[in-house]
Subunit: 205 residues, 2 copies
Amino acid sequence: MQLPSSLLENAVAEFAKLPGVGKKTALRLVLHLLKQDVNDVQHFSETIAKMRAEIKFCSRCCNISDGDICSICANSLRNQRTICVVENIRDVIAIESTQQYSGTYHVLGGIISPLDGIGPDQLNIESLIQRIQKEGTEELIFALNPNIQGDTTIYYIQKKLQPSACNITTIARGIAFGGELEYADEMTLARSIANRLPVQQYVKG
Amino acid sequence: MQLPSSLLENAVAEFAKLPGVGKKTALRLVLHLLKQDVNDVQHFSETIAKMRAEIKFCSRCCNISDGDICSICANSLRNQRTICVVENIRDVIAIESTQQYSGTYHVLGGIISPLDGIGPDQLNIESLIQRIQKEGTEELIFALNPNIQGDTTIYYIQKKLQPSACNITTIARGIAFGGELEYADEMTLARSIANRLPVQQYVKG
């Protein structure tokens, strides 16, 4: 695909660097911007650059933040003695949108994965350990993806913490709402039988 | 979906304005940019803004151009007496990538569509008429999409041109390569029978 202008070509190349955006999609996006007002495109570009340059990470939980401490850590109505450990910021957003959790978070910034060359040192694990000791955390909830890397990370952090008095839990694994038993994988089904709940507790939800 | 930072929220809102990009995709793109180097994101944003601010349209054919005249119009090796009329810049790119056309283009910037409120005055039709008279064009090839709006546009321009001596053609309609007869619509099949080609001409291609 040869483009009639180097300005256009550069812009398409920049968009095509984004994940899931190929050269054809990039061209469609650029031609769309070309139809917009110059000021609108200027505003688009400034907003992106400003976001990257000025965004901060919460010094306590490593979540995205406008200031030094994020709005969740700064909220005194939330339980500051419960920490939910997540892999990335997207998980924080997902859990927040359930409106069922009122504690704080700790964003690891990834997950232990030796195959990808990611070890504990590249993650925010040391700051988590220190934070638990300093703040007298009562409960640590692991909300990591249920795979080998997630389990490895849980195991590693848990080992580091012992013999801390802090209560350690992980989010429940089981059959998703709307899911069908016969299509569930054996691992999930086996776990959901092993971790079965009294019906009264389930109904109370 | 509540985001933990207004900077992030603004950036997501800007990306979500792009066609085919929803709020979730926008968030994925923004979080990707957040992982990139500040200078890379700065470069991304500057490239986009520069493209919109500095891009020009060829004063002759209305194609996208870095200068006053686009590279196709400026190329003396191309047949300057043949004009291919297309709806938009994407069509120019599509035809150029076939490497089978060596004339010039004229980008209408749209197509006559009364239902969408687009009349001949909003398109680059007047400049096409003047160009044909001034340049002594020998052939005018319509490469418009085969639908009512396309046919209306062809009919309108052709009426405007009469009794010009210029030869007017349209790209062939028919069964696409790899297509199957039994799944072709009746209109296409009927036209492709009516406009059948001598086999010798077909083989010569």
